[in-house]
């Protein structure tokens, strides 16, 4: 367990993130851990050298709402989640279409555990860009 941790759900995520922003927190990053049956997604925020973490437990096929409308800086890491874990992130400010870090020839969603077949991310031939 991390210090300053707050469990959130998909529905409360955006509100909580907005609350952090309101309290003057800085967006740090998002960490995703594949637990096998669910994804454990941690949103890290920082204020005065103290981390504040939101923990979201996401089902393997569920959509993840993007927080890039609240913290633009999150857009890159959310694209990364989409790439590496095959999590469908919705409403991205800039969508690299699953080709952010990976390219043609790369394995699909390589950091996703293999037990469940990945929900096919949007890997179009040319890569759809907004």
């Amino acid at each position: 367990m991390l210090n300053n941790e707050l469990p959130v759900t998909r529905d409360t995520l955006l509100n909580e993130v907005a609350a952090r922003r309101h309290q003057g927190y800085r967006f740090v990053t998002v960490t995703c851990v594949d637990l096998g049956d669910r994804f454990d997604i941690l949103y890290h925020f920082d204020k005065d050298y103290v981390l504040y973490n939101l923990r979201l437990s996401l089902g393997r096929t569920e959509n993840l709402p993007s927080i890039s409308s609240i913290f633009f800086a999150a857009v890159l890491v959310e694209n990364e989640l989409k790439d590496l874990f095959g999590i469908p992130v919705t409403d991205l400010a800039i969508d690299y279409g699953g080709r952010f870090l990976l390219s043609e020839g790369s394995p699909v969603a390589p950091q996703r555990k293999p037990d469940a077949p990945p929900a096919q991310p949007a890997q179009t031939k040319d890569g759809a860009v907004k």
Binding site: V28, T31, V33, H44, V75
Partner: protein, 359 residues
């Protein structure tokens, strides 16, 4: 056809030290839109923790990036030490600080050279890198390698510095101080350098806070945030002065880094003076269980390691968020509106380390 110019800036571009592509949309030479395309250095090393045990991963962490290599491994080790509740010896903390700060000097000198190269000031580039050779020689003498120090381990450091070595450090630091005293004011007051950096790539304090800028980029915009203030390693004992500027342009970032170089030298001097005797590492037994977020200040800013262990020799998850990753969003805010000639200057002003960013 359009009156807009669309060019790929990178990946193979001599002014960029590492492959990243910026798709620039320009009107004549004024950039109206810049979007990065990354993934040229994505190796996927986070997943390698599943194949290599946590001690081997010290070397893996060191090779996340060849410039701030030592500080990566230190962050990793600090994280593991926290999970495993290991207290490292005092001497190890001081050694980490010394190597860390010498490394920072090397990184900033490297950056200064590359920045000079980006605006075509070859002489500054050459001189910065010439000074940097002094630092690299020092690192090789004390740690055994110029770039990949390979001295970190979980529980302390692998290698001690003898008293003679400490004296050597002080001599080199004095020599560097002499070089800086001559060279840095010249660079900071040069007319043409000011022409190319003052007012270029502005990032206001609000933008920096909003977009989560870290490190010298944030400090140049007036945000006094530096993880060394939290006093990890021996920073608490040695004392530390934060360097900030308010203008938020490339020149301010240059000033911040130049100021930090002096500060690094001072810290090294104080650390050498206060160096405690004793062991340099403690044996670590068992395997890590639990999760932790380890953070410290790299030359480029705050680096974050999320580590999760489940009692096995291999970690379950390692996640690295590097300073450049955090600074990419501010970069995107700086680029539109600048001239094409300023693009490399602005890109280099955040001291990008793409290899860190993409892992």
């Amino acid at each position: 056809m359009s009156k807009r110019t669309i060019i790929p800036f990178g990946p193979q571009h001599p002014v960029l030290p590492e492959p990243i592509q910026l798709r620039l949309v320009m009107e004549e030479e004024r950039v109206v839109e810049a979007l990065p395309a990354v993934g040229y250095i994505h190796r996927g090393l986070e997943k390698l923790v599943e194949k290599k045990d946590y001690n081997q991963c010290v070397f893996l962490a060191e090779r996340v990036c060849g410039i701030c290599s030592f500080l990566h491994s230190v962050t990793y080790c600090q994280g593991l030490e926290e999970i495993m509740s290991v207290t490292i010896p005092d001497r190890a903390r001081f050694l980490r600080l010394i190597w860390g700060e010498v490394h920072r000097v090397h990184s900033h000198l490297l950056w200064l050279g590359l920045l000079a190269d980006s605006f075509g000031f070859e002489n500054v580039f050459m001189h910065a890198w010439r000074c940097r050779e002094m630092v690299l020689d020092l690192l090789e003498r004390t740690a055994g390698h110029r770039v990949m120090l390979g001295v970190s381990c979980v529980g302390g450091v692998r290698r001690d510095i003898s008293d003679e070595g400490l004296a050597d450090i002080l001599r080199t630091v004095d020599a560097l101080q002499k070089e800086f005293d001559e060279f840095v004011p010249v660079v900071l007051n040069d007319y043409s350098i000011k022409q190319r950096t003052v007012g270029v790539g502005k990032l206001t304090k609000e933008q920096a806070a909003e977009l989560g800028a870290v490190g010298p980029v944030a400090r140049a915009s007036g945000i006094a945030r530096d993880f060394r203030e939290t006093g990890y390693a021996a920073y608490g004992e040695v004392g530390f002065k934060i360097v900030t500027e308010t203008a938020g342009d490339c020149y301010a970032r240059m000033k911040v880094r130049c100021g930090e170089m002096y500060e690094c030298l001072n810290m090294v001097r104080r650390a050498v003076a206060a160096m405690p005797a004793g062991a340099i590492n403690v044996p670590v037994k068992g395997n890590p269980t639990g999760e932790v977020v380890a953070r410290l200040e790299q030359p480029r800013g705050e680096v974050i390691y999320y580590l999760k262990g489940n009692g096995a020799k291999n970690l379950e998850r390692m996640r690295i968020r590097t300073p450049t990753f955090a600074n990419l969003a501010p970069l995107l805010a700086m680029l539109p509106g600048c001239e094409l000639a300023d693009v490399p200057v602005i890109v280099l002003s955040i001291d990008p380390c793409i290899s860190c960013t993409e892992r």
